[in-house]
């Protein structure tokens, strides 16, 4: 189950499983973000291409508004997935 929690202005926490069955709900949650945001993903346990698409949709939407969207705290395996997808640098995942 995927969850998005607002921690404060410009800060959200994403956790749980972001798979194809959760991506539609995730898109709705992420669509509420309207300012430059850092997403704490330390609780994100799983992500697939459907989840990455939802995150990249948010990244592009915010970029079009002159805002940023960065990700922090991902575990090593999820970091690898973003790296293989060629997106780690864009999302500020070091």
């Amino acid at each position: 189950m995927f969850r998005m929690e607002t921690l404060g202005p410009g800060n959200v926490k994403l956790s749980g499983w972001l798979d194809a069955s959760a991506s539609e709900g995730a898109r709705e949650d992420l669509s509420r973000i309207s300012e430059s945001t850092i997403a704490d993903c330390s609780g994100l346990e799983y992500i697939s291409s459907a989840g990455i698409a939802a995150i990249m949709e948010t990244y592009k939407r915010l970029l079009d508004r002159g805002c940023t969207f960065r990700i922090q705290g991902v575990n090593q395996r999820i970091r690898n997935i973003f790296t293989y997808a060629g997106l780690a640098g864009l999302l500020g995942i070091d």
Binding site: W17, D19, A20, E45, R77, I81, Y84, A85, G86
Partner: protein, 135 residues
């Protein structure tokens, strides 16, 4: 090989994840590596569902472990061919706003697998993936 049938519905992916988790537990495999196997399974499952929208049969998922190599076999019955080994991968080179959408799932499958094989016989698509697990 342990094999189960799963309804071709993306919203039922959780059942397939539970099958993978159960296989890892019963074979004493490292739980940390289920993410890669689940991801390969999900991307192939979703591809099967989306590329044969008129398909009516359940999708078979099989797992085998020989002590060093995990084998995942996925079979889709009474469908047209969709060769995942030759389908285009993701465009990772163009600037983000110019990238062609799609293909990321298969790109990740190829990146995470040690081998990927496709067979189409008697209107059945069979995808066989092997993955060496870290000890």
């Amino acid at each position: 090989m342990v094999e189960r049938l799963f309804p071709r519905k993306v919203e039922r992916l959780g059942d397939a994840f539970a099958f993978v988790r159960g296989f890892f537990e019963s074979n004493g495999l490292p739980a940390g590596q289920t993410l890669d196997v689940n991801l390969i399974m999900e991307e192939l499952f979703v591809n099967m569902v989306r590329h044969a929208r008129d398909g009516t049969h359940d999708i078979a998922i099989g797992l085998d472990w020989d002590g060093s190599l995990l084998t995942l076999v996925m079979r889709d019955f009474d469908v047209g061919p969709f060769n995942v080994t030759t389908a285009p991968g993701a465009d990772l080179q163009s600037p983000l706003n110019r990238r062609t959408p799609g293909g990321l799932g298969l790109h990740l499958v190829r990146r995470l697998s040690d081998s990927l094989r496709y067979d189409y016989t008697g209107r059945t698509s069979t995808i066989t993936v092997t993955k060496r697990l870290e000890s």
